[in-house]
Every structure is written in structure tokens, then in C-alpha cells.
């Protein structure tokens, strides 16, 4: 029963461009096989970017163009499968425009507030970490919260973010009581979509760090980066 690796399903009226968007927005790495009638096509993704496509003799953008024209069919998603060659080196949005009509959905970022620059006079390492993270290009917003629900950084935020911060604390609190497995019941990280915005919540001792990031970002990579940054801050004199 468990011999299927990945996901097998039918497109059932789902547009192939939408499927591509789902894979790119979610940062998929692997192969998507599409069976449309007697034809077979393959699209390879690397962290959400299309790197190769093949359909019969056609490869690269030509192969992708051929696949995008299909309607319906069966799909098989195989994570981690690497392409035999790299034939595409363009952002996926440009590819979809090039290969057909621009996908109907908008960009995942939505309306964002620009990150705020804070003074670097804080002595607490979480404050230093917060300031450091604000410089990261992929982080659109950053909140530092304590366990009492107080927003430590930034000092002033819009009302909707205050509401989100309350949600994050509530969800984190639920996550600590949800799993029954002793010390292993504490989460490493949480990923929350609220009002269409994507946030990564990282517990840091008595604090919670909430980062608004693109949905395609690999949370494990960001978690590692945060841990490394924290380590570097601790080593500072």
C-alpha cells in the first residue's frame, strides 16, 4: 500500500498552469509527470523554480509549451528527483508568460509593509537577532513576542499585525499541548497562513520570533540561518 512515493492523482479540470504555480509557490523540488491521453510530459523543479521540461522529443521551453496546452490527465509528483539536464533558466512567472497566457493568480507576496529599520542599541540577543533578520531580503516583516503576548519588537505595528501576533501566540500555545510525547512535544517551528499571508514562527526560549516570508521559502533553511545568526550574536564580545 505504501509503495507510492510522492503523490498520484488526477488533474480533474485543474489547469496545468495552476499546478505549476502550486509547485513553485510551495518550493517543490522534484519531478511532476503528467499523463495526458497517450502523451507523457515531465517538469522538474528545484526549490520552486522550473529547471527542465520534456515532452516527447521536445525539451526546455518548447517541451513546457507542449505540456501547458493539455487539459486534464493524471499527475505524479515525485519529490527529490533530479533532472537529467538543465534546459530552463528563467523565473517561473516569465516562463508561464512565455509558454502561454499569464497565470491568473497574482504574486504570492500580496500587499506588504516594508521592513522597518530599528536602532541597534538593544543589548538582548533577541533584539540583536531581530535587527539582523530585518536585513534579510526574503523576510518581509518580523515580530518578536514574549510568552505574555507582549510585542517586544517593533514598538509600533498596524492593528492587523497585533491581531496576527495574538493568533501566533494562541496557535503556539495549542501546539505545545497537542502532542503527547514528553520533551519531544515542543515544536521546532510552525508555519501559519493568516489572511493570505505566510508566517514562520520560531520558538526562541521564552520568546517567539515571527517572520513573514514567501510561501516558497524552505522553512528548514531559514531555521538553520536563524540558528547560525543567533550563534554568531552569542559569540560577539
Amino acid at each position: 500500500m505504501k509503495n507510492v512515493r510522492g503523490f498520484v492523482g488526477s488533474l480533474h479540470g485543474l489547469d496545468i498552469r495552476n499546478l505549476i504555480q502550486m509547485c513553485t509557490v510551495n518550493g517543490v523540488t522534484g519531478r511532476v509527470k503528467i499523463l495526458g491521453g497517450d502523451q507523457e510530459g515531465e517538469i522538474y523543479f528545484d526549490r520552486g523554480e522550473i529547471v527542465h521540461a520534456a515532452c516527447g522529443e521536445l525539451k526546455g521551453i518548447e517541451g513546457l509549451k507542449a505540456i501547458i496546452g493539455w487539459e486534464g490527465g493524471e499527475i505524479k509528483l515525485e519529490p527529490g528527483v533530479t533532472p537529467p539536464e538543465v534546459t530552463i533558466d528563467l523565473p517561473w512567472q516569465a516562463l508561464l508568460m512565455n509558454a502561454g497566457k499569464m497565470a491568473e493568480k497574482g504574486h504570492p507576496e500580496g500587499d506588504q509593509e516594508p521592513p522597518r529599520e530599528r536602532s541597534a542599541s538593544d543589548t538582548l540577543r533577541q533584539y540583536a537577532l531581530y535587527s539582523e533578520i530585518l536585513r534579510w531580503r526574503e523576510v518581509e516583516n518580523c515580530l518578536l513576542l514574549n510568552s505574555e503576548g507582549e510585542i517586544l519588537r517593533p514598538s509600533t505595528i498596524p492593528e492587523r499585525m497585533k491581531r496576527w501576533a495574538k493568533d501566533f501566540l494562541e496557535i503556539y500555545s495549542h501546539s505545545t499541548t497537542l502532542a503527547i510525547a514528553g520533551s519531544r512535544s515542543l515544536p521546532l517551528y510552525l508555519s501559519v497562513t493568516v489572511d493570505g499571508h505566510h508566517w514562520l514562527i520560531i520558538p526562541l526560549g521564552a520568546h517567539l520570533l515571527a517572520l513573514q516570508v514567501p510561501r516558497s521559502l524552505n522553512p528548514k533553511e531559514l531555521l538553520l540561518r536563524v540558528t547560525q545568526a543567533l550563534g554568531e550574536i552569542e559569540e560577539r564580545p
Binding site: G9, S10, G27, R163, H174, A179, L188, L190, S191
Partner: protein, 131 residues
């Protein structure tokens, strides 16, 4: 692939169980894979789902524990809950669920996952008789 709408969900790598809830926190469908799910508190889960249905703004929650993964997606007035091991790939999980959700919505979520309260009208008569 069988008639169970949750069949494909439990066939995803690392997924051990999938459940569907209706408000306030009524279990309307479930499927557990070959490997039983690692333990989660049923009471806490219902409290959490009740909170999310009331909240309205939160549409998706993924919680990564050292050895397990918990994924919850609000789809209209249904909540899909997936429990799995750390083997589960979050990106693949999301894409798989998005593809299936598209199909479920086309078929009507309330028809694919009907509430259990919609039982035979004779149940009251039967329960009075049994009581």
C-alpha cells in the same frame, strides 16, 4: 484508488493519518494508514479546531515537531488534519492537498465530507424506543 476521498492523502510519503472535521469540531471523515499515527491529544485537537473555526483568518497551520508533523487546512466549513512522521515533505503535502481540495470543491465539500448529524429521521424514534 478506491472511493475514500482521503485515500490519496494517506498515500503521501510520511503521512500516517488524515481526518476531516466540521464546525464546531465534529469528526466527519478519517483514514489511518498502515502505520498508526503518533499520538496527539484528541481533546486538545478538538479545542484547537474549534479555535480555528471561530478565528476565521487562519487558513493553514503546519507544525513541525522533532519527530512528527501536524498539518491543518481550513477548507470552507471543513478542516483537514494530517498527521505524519518527520519523513513527510511539507511542500509536497501542500501541493497534494491543493490538488485534492480543487477536486473536492468541484464535487462539493459538504457532499464529499457530509456531517454525521444528517442521519436517518427515524433515529429519534429509535433512541426513544431503546431508551
Amino acid at each position: 484508488m478506491g472511493n475514500d476521498p482521503l485515500y490519496e492523502v494517506t498515500n503521501l510519503d510520511g503521512v500516517e493519518a488524515a481526518y476531516v472535521f466540521a464546525p464546531p469540531a465534529e469528526l466527519v471523515a478519517k483514514r489511518e494508514g498502515d502505520i498508526p499515527p503518533q499520538e496527539f491529544s484528541a481533546k486538545e485537537l478538538r479545542d484547537f479546531i474549534r479555535y480555528l473555526f471561530d478565528n476565521g483568518g487562519v487558513s493553514e497551520v503546519l507544525i513541525c515537531y522533532p519527530q512528527k508533523v501536524f498539518f491543518l487546512k481550513i477548507m470552507g466549513d471543513r478542516a483537514l488534519v494530517i498527521m505524519g512522521s518527520s519523513k513527510a515533505n511539507p511542500a509536497l503535502l501542500r501541493v497534494g492537498v491543493e490538488v485534492l481540495e480543487h477536486r473536492w470543491r468541484e464535487d462539493g465539500l459538504n457532499r464529499v465530507f457530509p456531517k454525521r448529524g444528517k442521519r436517518s429521521p427515524f433515529r429519534f424514534w429509535r433512541s426513544r424506543k431503546e431508551g
